[in-house]
C-alpha cells in the first residue's frame, strides 16, 4: 500500500500511523518534519511542481518498496504557507522487520529532500529568501546509492 498526499492542509499523523499499524507487520517507523522558528522566521512557504510532484513521490516510494520488504508507505508533503511549529512532511513505513521499516523511512526522507520538486521560501520581518540546497542533504542521499 503506497499512499501519497500533497496539499495545503495539515494532516492527521495518528490516522496515518494507525493505517500502517493495521497492516500486520509489527513494525512501523515514521519521520515528521516541522517548521522551525529559527532566526525570527515568521512563515515558511512551500512551492512545488504540481504536474510532477505526485509522480516523483510515487517513484520514490516504489524504489523504497523494491529495496526493503515493506507492507505500507505513506508520504505526505504540505505546500503553501506554514507557521513555525506546523508539520511540513511525514514519512511512514510498515514492515515485518524493524530495520526495514526504519531504514526505508530514513531513505525516503533523505531522497525526498533532494529528489522531489519542492522549494522553500523563508519569510522574516526583514524580507524573504529562498532556502539554498545543502550539500549535506546530497551526501545523505548518496549514502543510499548502491552499485
Amino acid at each position: 500500500m503506497i499512499t501519497i498526499a500533497v496539499g495545503e492542509a495539515d494532516f492527521d499523523v495518528a490516522a496515518r500511523l494507525a493505517e500502517l499499524e493495521a497492516m500486520g507487520g509489527g513494525a512501523v517507523a515514521s519521520f515528521t518534519g516541522i517548521v522551525r522558528g529559527d532566526g525570527g522566521l515568521i512563515a515558511l512557504e512551500l512551492e512545488h511542481y504540481p504536474a510532477m510532484t505526485h509522480e516523483a513521490l510515487t517513484r520514490l516510494a516504489e524504489d523504497a518498496a523494491r529495496r526493503w520488504p515493506l507492507l505500507g508507505i505513506v508520504l505526505i508533503h504540505r505546500v503553501g504557507r506554514m507557521a513555525p511549529g506546523e508539520r511540513i512532511v511525514f514519512v511512514g513505513t510498515a514492515s515485518s522487520h524493524r530495520a526495514a521499516a526504519l531504514d526505508a523511512c530514513h531513505f525516503l526522507i533523505d531522497w525526498l529532500k533532494t529528489e522531489a520538486p519542492f522549494w522553500k521560501k523563508e519569510h522574516r520581518a526583514d524580507g524573504s529568501t529562498w532556502v539554498e540546497a545543502r550539500t549535506a542533504d546530497d551526501a545523505a542521499r548518496d549514502r543510499w546509492i548502491r552499485d
Binding site: H48, T114, E115, A116, W130
Partner: protein, 85 residues
C-alpha cells in the same frame, strides 16, 4: 515546435511569470542550448539563468541534466536545486 516552459522559485520570480509557450530555434538541441536562447529573451530571463550551476531542469516532468536532448519535449521546467522535506 512550441514547448511549454514552466518556472519555479526564484527562477520564476526573476522571469516574472510561471509559464510561457515558446518556440525555440531548431538548432537548440539540448537543455543548455535552450537556456542560451531563453537568456536572450529579456533581462528577467538573463538574470534567472545567469548562474547555470544553480539551474536544474525537468523534461516532461522528469529531472534532466543540462546536456539532455530536448527533441520531442512538450514541457520543460527550470528551477533551483530542490529544498523540500
Amino acid at each position: 515546435m512550441a514547448i511549454d516552459f514552466v518556472y519555479f522559485a526564484w527562477v520564476r520570480e526573476a522571469i516574472g511569470h510561471d509559464a510561457e509557450r515558446l518556440d525555440p530555434p531548431a538548432d537548440a538541441l539540448t537543455v543548455a542550448a535552450v537556456i542560451d536562447w531563453l537568456s536572450g529573451l529579456s533581462d528577467g530571463h538573463k538574470r534567472a539563468f545567469f548562474d547555470r550551476s544553480r539551474i536544474r531542469a525537468a523534461i516532461d516532468q522528469v529531472f534532466a541534466p543540462l546536456d539532455a536532448p530536448v527533441a520531442g519535449a512538450r514541457e520543460i521546467a527550470f528551477f533551483p536545486p530542490v529544498t523540500g522535506g
